[in-house]
């Protein structure tokens, strides 16, 4: 059964005093009863950490005996229509999602904070700033403390990414370089490699979800793949540019599917490209998760779109189609969209209008 999807707007979060560039969900939350948490970063030089209130009404259950923890477990094993009706039971439709502000990380970066990324354990948050530094923050009690500042880039740092095990950190920036940092005990960081190769501003870096392979995309219209030869020597093993079906303008972002065998890139050339690898699927998808494999985009036309792999097309070549366009999702450009952690089906979007919106993915009967 091919489901149709809708995005229900749950909440609008205000507070940032300038455009919001990016959001990142804490991967260690949204499971085992831990309320979902995410960070947002802004042109106002701060990072805000937000959390869904555990006892908020949208997680209460109308059917008394189900607590939110057991509701999660039941949800995973349901199939088809039964899943739909239980969902209607335990989600109160009052539109109030009750995400609240947990902390403001300020007085550290002296310029725009462009993006942020949580370590896989959820214990550390890395923040990339136009002030040429990368901040490392730790959750200490109720507050967040900056425990380290990584210097080295010559100018604006644009993106930061942790590898799957949390042992490596990557950063990139307008100085055209990609840096790889080793995470040492005691929250120490050591530069392992400075990668040159891009001929222009590098917009984003992202590690493969399971392997220690790094991907970067740039104003030079290309995507580069970086790997290590076993001797701590990192180098570029592949370049995806116009010559091999790549983009014809700045590549702004890339993202992987759950199993890591497909990657999607989006560009100033107004297209998205889906890339595949011959590597076998590394992760099996456990449980019934019909929304996995959905691609969500935020664009400069203020809209959020959903794309899904289309089964109509020939057997050999996959194709994707747009199944939803949320026009005027925000009042201005949508800069970032991120799926929530685990099975939450939440989506966070960040915009030039200074707000963040929380959405919930819902199947349409």
């Amino acid at each position: 059964m091919e489901l149709d999807w809708e995005l229900r707007e749950l909440q609008t979060l205000e507070g940032h005093k300038d455009r919001v560039w990016s959001v990142a969900w804490n991967p260690a939350t949204g499971v085992a009863g831990i309320p979902p948490m995410f960070a947002s970063c802004s042109g106002d030089k701060t990072v805000r950490v937000w959390e869904q209130t555990p006892s908020s009404s949208s997680w209460d259950c109308k059917v008394g005996f189900l607590t939110s923890a057991t509701a999660f477990m039941m949800f995973r094993f349901l199939r088809g229509e039964m899943w739909l009706s239980l969902h209607a039971l335990w989600c109160v439709d009052d539109g109030n999602c009750c995400v609240h502000l947990r902390a403001v990380l300020d007085e550290t970066h002296t310029r725009t904070v462009r993006s942020c990324a949580w370590s896989p354990s959820g214990k550390l948050l890395a923040t990339a700033s136009f002030d040429a530094t990368t901040g490392i923050w730790e959750n200490v009690g109720d507050d967040f403390e900056c425990v380290s500042t990584l210097e080295g880039h010559e100018n604006e740092v644009k993106s930061v990414s942790w590898n799957a095990s949390g042992s490596l950190l990557a950063t990139c920036g307008r100085d055209k370089s990609v840096w790889i940092w080793e995470v040492l005990p005691g929250k120490e960081f050591e530069c392992a490699s400075v990668l040159q190769g891009h001929t222009q501003d590098v917009k984003m870096v992202m590690w493969h979800p399971t392997m220690d392979i790094l991907f970067s995309c740039s104003y030079d219209n290309s995507v580069k793949v970086w790997a290590e030869d076993g001797d701590d020597d990192w180098h570029c093993v592949q370049t995806l540019n116009e010559a091999n079906n790549g983009h014809s303008s700045t590549v702004w972002a890339l993202s992987f599917n759950g199993s890591g065998d497909k990657m999607v890139t989006c560009s100033d050339d107004l297209t998205m490209k889906i890339w595949g690898t011959d590597l076998k699927k590394m992760m099996s998808e456990d449980g019934y998760a019909p929304w996995k494999g959905l691609i969500v985009t935020g664009a400069a036309d203020d809209a959020i779109r959903l794309f899904v792999e289309s089964k109509d097309g020939s057997v050999d070549e996959p194709s994707y189609k747009m199944i939803l366009r949320k026009e005027k999702a925000h009042d201005m450009d949508v800069n970032s969209v991120q799926w929530g952690p685990g099975e939450t089906r939440l989506l966070a979007s960040a915009s030039d209008d200074g707000t963040i919106k929380i959405w919930e993915l819902q199947p349409v009967a």
């Binding site: 042109g43 725009t112 604006e156 104003y219 201005m332």
Partner: protein, 161 residues
Amino acid sequence: MVSGLINANPVVYEKKERRVRSAPANVDEYAVEPIDQLEIFDHLRDIKDPEHPYSLEELKVISEDAIEVDDSNSYVRITFTPTVEHCSMATIIGLCLRVKLMRSLPSRYKVDIRIAPGSHATEAAVNKQLNDKERVAAALENPNLVEMVDECLAPTYGFSN
């Protein structure tokens, strides 16, 4: 930065006569008038060239015809012509145009700025920079650049909007 002006003797044109808009007969006080070419040109015409004591209008860097606006879709495209082909002030001029519009137009507007095709040696490179929102944002965090832009925009704030 003072020695060796890129274009020491620019051609200066006469300013176009400013049209005074006549008040329409039936005035609906709550109707918002769509933004048109002239209104946008009025925001930009007095911007001072970064190198010379003349406005962009006087130097024919911008003209009313080079403004394409579609108010119902909240879109505007400005095409500007630098005075010389190798003008390194092209990015500054483009930045001035962008900043002025950012401060003057409703936030719903999407703005494209480009160099008139054929009028500059590295027009593709300049156009790409001027339309990269992230690069523009970073540039505007540079106090020296902001000071330069504000100096160029200073003559434009007499226009009431």
